[in-house]
Symmetry: C2
Subunit: 385 residues, 2 copies
């Protein structure tokens, strides 16, 4: 397998992007990434686009072909990948594999979602399709409900406190406030989090990500050609992609996602590193509790210590490992299909030393994307070169 590098990244702002359709925002992120890489579009040989639910919330399917056509990519193969909220991470991984295996030399991987044109009820119903419809969601369970259950289980099993969980929101909103691409630009206090509207007990409004529009894109090429295109290319050290139980009732323990554990194991093995080597991570905080669970599943903190980690500042910008310096899904926003690529957008900028909330001396970064309540996960490990 060939070494793969990232030579360009692009991202729209996240939020309510008025008057801009799904194709528009995907194209905008791709154009920014191509310009960042200084790669002419004629060189691009394949396009992968992660998108969860464009057919339902934006009336737009076949987004990969549409985007390739609008970008003028000359008839290249284009594939939409979908794995609920991990759609973007899967697109990126397929792009990396295409170059690693020698099939292509230049690949564009992107993610996009347009959610704010639909009503909140439509969004909630649409997001619920990431769960097993017949076996769980039809009974009325929602994603906030699922993570409410997971939160109660983590509190009961490990003594995690409501305050520790709320501090994830305080940390991420604080970081998002400084990120110009972030949907929320205002810090919140723990008191505000704990007094915000109850959504799914014990989770409150500020424990949840917003409904967002947004897109992000990444240009990939073989590592040995990367410096022709960018002065600070980033190495893809390893990737992982795994599946797991689709429903809470199939899980032996609802406080851990086997798909994350498997994908991380594969990515660490490929990269030849351990969790302790990672300096900065963008992980899938689709709820505050999800950050705590992921930080344990990825091996950054011992099982059950994810809540304490936030309280002690271990996951702060200057902590043991900086977690979600972009503001994470909770503050930056969560245009579902875009998230996997947007995490990599932030991490590439961290490794280049260009981030809004710059982590000092960072050399190794990890992106973690999760679909549903753990039905699928991807992990990507990046490094300076």
């Amino acid at each position: 397998m060939r070494d793969v590098a990232i030579i360009g990244v692009g991202s729209t702002p996240f939020g309510k992007l008025e008057g801009r359709g799904l194709i528009d925002i995907a194209v905008a992120a791709c154009r920014e990434a191509l310009a960042d890489a200084r790669v002419p579009r004629e060189k691009i040989q394949a396009l992968y686009v992660g998108n969860f639910i464009g057919e339902r919330l934006a009336n737009q399917g076949a987004i990969a072909g549409m985007t390739a056509n609008r970008l003028g990519l000359g008839g290249i193969p284009a594939t939409k990948t979908e794995g609920a909220c991990a759609s973007g991470g899967i697109a990126l991984r397929l792009g990396v594999l295409g170059i690693a295996l020698g099939l292509y030399d230049f690949v564009l991987a992107a993610g996009a979602e347009k959610m704010t044109s639909a009503s909140t009820a439509e969004v909630t119903a649409g997001l619920a399709t990431a769960g097993d419809e017949e076996a769980e969601m039809r009974c009325g369970l929602t994603f906030p409900g699922s993570f409410g259950i997971i939160t109660r289980a983590h509190m009961a099993r490990y003594g995690t406190t409501r305050e520790q969980i709320g501090l994830v929101s305080v940390k991420n909103h604080g970081l998002g406030a400084a990120n110009p691409k972030s949907q929320f630009r205002k810090p919140v206090t723990l008191d505000e989090v704990l007094r915000s509207r109850l959504i799914a007990d014990p989770l409150r409004l500020f424990d949840c990500p917003p409904i967002s529009d947004g897109a992000a894109a990444v240009v990939l090429c073989p590592a040995d050609r990367a410096r022709e295109f960018h002065a600070k290319p980033v190495r893809v050290m390893g990737t992982g992609h795994a599946t797991g139980p689709a429903t809470l009732w199939e899980m032996d323990d609802v406080t851990t996602f086997p798909a994350t554990v498997r994908a991380a194991r594969e990515a660490y093995h490929a990269a030849g590193i351990a969790a302790a080597d990672v300096d900065v991570v963008e992980l899938h905080d689709c709820f505050t509790t999800a950050e705590i669970v992921a930080s344990e599943d990825l091996g950054f903190f011992p099982r059950g210590q994810g809540g304490r980690a936030v309280e002690e500042g271990w996951s702060a910008l200057d902590g043991k490992v900086a977690v979600n310096p972009s503001g994470g899904l909770i503050a930056k926003g969560h245009p579902v299909g875009a998230t996997g690529c947007a995490q990599v957008y932030e991490l590439v900028r961290q490794l280049r030393g260009e981030a809004a909330n710059q982590v000092r001396n960072c050399e190794i970064a990890l992106a973690h994307n999760l679909g549903g309540t753990g039905v699928v996960s991807t992990v990507t490990i990046l490094g300076t070169m």
Copy 2:
């Protein structure tokens, strides 16, 4: 690149599959394919599932992870691919590439769609998301409308007659009548086609495919191991995957789809054959006219002669090239995401000599899958070994 073989295929019947959800039918097709290949599920290293619009018509997303979990595939990477009606062809191609490039030894590629639970209005609106929403579909164009325009253009440019177009339906319904997996099992006369209800002038009801549920699956492995698993393995000789204009107004000529032409060129080149070498083809007859256009784009008949080809019997079971011996989308049914894999299901059975409408002495077969009005296309060439 390693040679790749198909060692097992499976398919549900197509039609209205009452009481069976999207995951159920995907799992059923996969189980049949695994049994056909006599491959234990533990050997499968990756799953690709083509599905267009499960999130909208079946309230079910993340179908690949859901299917992997339900099949007990042990946490392997699973990816849903979407390219409108070409979703299944893309899944198959990614599976083939995974083995050709040495990433995996055993891959399951499948396609599935559950459409009959939704209302006809919901299906029509859902299918319209395969077009460019902002640039075309929002104005009220539908897929039958698009192909009505294409039909008029073909008639005007080449003198193709309404009767020739209707004969596609007569041929395909006649073939579908003998196929036990087919949704329609009754021959129709030309008179019945021409008197059937007008849908989008000049296309009538029997020019259109039905709304269908169904799934199909394919097991792939390296060609040099294929005989361990099946006495009559089928070789994947070449594949192609390309994109093209997303809207009619962007096309220089609406009677040809550049994506089909490109994908075919790539597949013929990889296989080292020409169109004249193909004995049997399953092509994307999403409307009668689409069969005529595809038969020209794939190089079987000269430009403008597709109508005459049907009339002269060139595309009949015993013609120059047997076109859609399964009954095609029009008679067999068109569960959108399943179609690309269902075409290969038929062709593998043809090459094994097991088909309901068996083509005599067939050694080379071609599958053609089309998304939208040509935004994406895949071509797969198969041969005996």
